[in-house]
Amino acid sequence: MMRLRRYWPVAAIALAVIVVQIVLSLAGTTYYMTQLTMSAYYALVVIGLCLLMGYAGQASLGHAGFFAIGGYTVAYMTTVNLLAYRDTGLIRALHWLGLVVQWRNLYGADVLSFSPWPAFLAALALTGLIAFLIGVPVIRLKGHYLAMATLGFGLIVYRIVLGTKALGQADGISNVPPFHLIPGLEVNGRSAFRIQNYYIAWALVLVSMVLAINLVHSRVGRALRSIHQSEEAAHSLGVNTYRYKLAVFVLSALFAAVGGALLTHYNGSIGPSEATVMKSVRYVAIVAIGGMANLWGAMLMAILLNFLSLRGVFGTFDDAVFGAILIFIMLFAPQGLLRLPRLRSLSSLLSRRPHG
C-alpha cells in the first residue's frame, strides 16, 4: 500500500498531461505543446540536479556544461560529413553495422554521418566519462570550493564550444536530423510531430521521476540523505560517502546529457547559449524554488518556469527573474515555495514529502 501511494502523483501527472493535450488540441493552441516539450527536456536536467543537490547535498554550478556535452555530441556526430572517408575500411564496417547513415541535408548535399542511436549512446558514454573524471577530484571538495570548481568546469565547456571550429563557434550546430527512436516514433521538432513529441518527452520525464523516486527510497537514497545531514556521521556508520557522492554526480550528469541530446534533436540545433553559467544558475534556482529535496516540486517548477521563460513572459528581465527568485527563496523560503505556510495545504496535496 505504502509503495503504491508513492506513485500516485505519477498517475496524476500522467492524467494531467493527457488532459492538457486534449484541451490544447480542442482549443487549437497546440503551439503551447512545443514549449511544454522543451520544458520537459529541461526538467530532466533539473531532476538529476535535484538528486545531487537536494538529496546528496552537493551543489553544482556546471550542469549546463553536461547538458551541452550531451547536446553537442549528438549534434556533431549526426551532422559531421564522413562522405570523403566512405571507402575506408572503418566507415564501411560502421555502415555494414548500420551505425552510419547517408541522408540529404537542407541544401541538397549528401551527408554520411552517424545515425542518432549510436550518437545518443556515445553522448551518454562521453558525458558519463567526463563527469567521472571531473568528479573523482572535485567531489572531495566542500561548500564553496565545490561550487567554484563546478563553475570552473562549466566555464571551460563554454569556452571550448565557443572556440572550437568543428562545433560551430558562436553559431553552434544546426541541421541536426530527427531521432527515430523506434519505427513510428521520432524526436522531431516539425509541427506535424508536435503531439507525438509532447508525449515522448513527458513519458521520459515520468520514467525519470519513477527512477529518481525509487532511488531516493532505496538503500542508496537513505545513504545519500545521511550524507546530506552529516557526512561524518554517515561515514562513521560505514557509508562510503565518497563513492555515493561520485555516483550521484555521474548520474545527474547523465540526466542532463539525455535532456541535452534529445532537445538538440527536437530543436534541430544547439548553440553556446546552452552552456553558459547563467543556464547552470537557472537549474540551481529551479531546484531551490522546488524545495531542494523535493523531486516533485523541482519538476513542477522546472516545467512552469521554463515554460514561462520560453514563452517570453519575462521579456528582457529573463535572467533577472531567476536571480530574484534565488534571493527570495534563499531568504524567505529555504524549504521551497511549496512549503511556505500559506501554500502548505496545497503542497501536501501536490507532493507527499518523499522522505518523512
Binding site: 561548500g143 564553496h144 553559467v277 534571493i327
Partner: protein
C-alpha cells in the same frame, strides 16, 4: 623573445595581476568576517567604474571617482543589511546562493541602466598614446596609476587592519566572533563594514582599470572568477599572499597570451583554479599540515 618584449608582457601581466589581487583582497575581507564567498565581488568594480563614467559628465575626474567609490561603498553596505543580515543564521551554501542571485540582479540592472556598450574613463594623465620607456618597453602612464593605486590600497588596508581600533576590531571578529562580542565589539556592524570596505576598494580598482580594459556590464563575473582563483591560490583569508598570487596569475596569463592564441587566456585562470582546488585547496603559501587542519 627579446628582453624589451619580456618586460612589455611582464608589465601588462603585473597590471592586470594587481587588479586581480584587489578583487581577491575584497573576497578575503568578506570571507574573514563572515565565512562566505561573495560572488558579487566583481560587480563592485563595474558599478564603481560605470558610476564614475556617468558622473564624469558633470564633475571633474577626481570628484567623479571619489563619489563613485562612496556610492558603491554605500551600496555594498545596503546589500549586506538587506540581503545578508536577515539570513545571518543560514548555512554557508544558502548565503553563497544569495550572493549569486545578487550578482545576477546587479548585472541585469546595469544592463538596463548602461546598456551593453563598452564605456571608459579617460586616462588619468596624458592620453592613450603618451607612454614612457622602461628597459626598452613602452608603458602607458595609466599602468603606473594602476600599480600605484593598487599599492596604496594594499598599504592602506594593512595600516587600517594593523593600527586602527576599527581595523583591529574587525580582525578580532574574524578571529573569534563570540570573544569579540564579549569584548563589546558590535559584530553585525563589523560584517556590514567588511562589505562596505570591499565594495569601496573594488570600485576604486574598477575606476583605475577602466581606461585600459574598458568597462562593460558583464565583466564582473570573469573578474570574480579570477579574483577567487587568486584568493584560493594565496589561501582564503590571507591578503598578503593574495597580492603575490594575483601578480603570479597576471604574469602567467600575459605569457600564455604571448605564446598561444588569446582565446586560451580565459581558460588559464580556470585551469589554475581547478588544479589548486584539487591539489592544494588551502593555497600555495600554507604548509600542508596547517592547511589540513584548517580545511578540516
Amino acid at each position: 623573445m627579446n628582453f624589451p618584449l619580456i618586460v612589455q608582457y611582464g608589465l601588462s601581466g603585473i597590471t592586470v595581476g594587481s587588479i586581480y589581487a584587489i578583487v581577491a583582497v575584497g573576497f578575503n575581507i568578506i570571507y574573514s568576517t563572515t565565512g562566505i564567498i561573495n560572488f558579487a565581488q566583481g560587480e563592485f568594480l563595474i558599478i564603481g567604474a560605470m558610476t564614475a563614467i556617468s558622473l564624469y559628465q558633470i564633475f571633474p575626474l577626481w570628484l567623479a571617482i571619489a563619489l563613485a567609490v562612496i556610492v558603491t561603498t554605500i551600496l555594498g553596505g545596503l546589500m549586506e543589511m538587506v540581503f545578508i543580515r536577515p539570513a545571518r543564521d543560514a548555512s554557508v551554501l544558502r548565503l553563497i546562493v544569495i550572493t549569486i542571485g545578487l550578482s545576477i540582479l546587479i548585472r541585469e540592472a546595469m544592463l538596463h541602466i548602461w546598456d551593453e556598450q563598452p564605456r571608459y574613463l579617460p586616462y588619468f594623465t596624458g592620453t592613450q598614446s603618451s607612454t614612457i620607456a622602461i628597459f626598452g618597453a613602452y608603458v602607458s602612464l595609466q599602468v603606473l596609476w594602476v600599480l600605484g593605486i593598487s599599492a596604496v590600497i594594499v598599504a592602506g588596508l594593512t595600516i587600517f587592519f594593523r593600527f586602527t581600533l576599527l581595523g583591529r576590531a574587525m580582525r578580532a571578529c574574524a578571529d573569534d566572533r563570540m570573544a569579540a562580542c564579549l569584548c563589546g565589539i558590535n559584530d553585525r556592524w563589523m560584517v556590514t563594514l567588511s562589505f562596505m570596505l570591499s565594495a569601496g576598494i573594488g570600485a576604486l580598482a574598477g575606476c583605475v582599470i577602466s581606461p585600459v580594459t574598458l568597462t562593460q556590464y558583464d565583466m564582473g563575473a570573469p573578474l570574480a572568477i579570477k579574483g577567487f582563483t587568486v584568493a584560493i591560490l594565496g589561501g582564503l583569508g590571507n591578503s598578503m599572499a593574495a597580492v603575490v598570487a594575483g601578480l603570479l596569475l597576471g604574469l602567467l596569463e600575459a605569457f600564455v597570451v604571448s605564446q598561444f592564441a588569446s582565446a586560451y587566456k580565459e581558460a588559464v585562470a580556470i585551469v589554475v583554479l581547478l588544479l589548486v582546488l584539487v591539489f592544494r585547496p588551502t593555497g600555495l603559501f600554507v604548509r600542508r599540515e596547517i592547511g589540513d587542519l584548517r580545511a578540516a
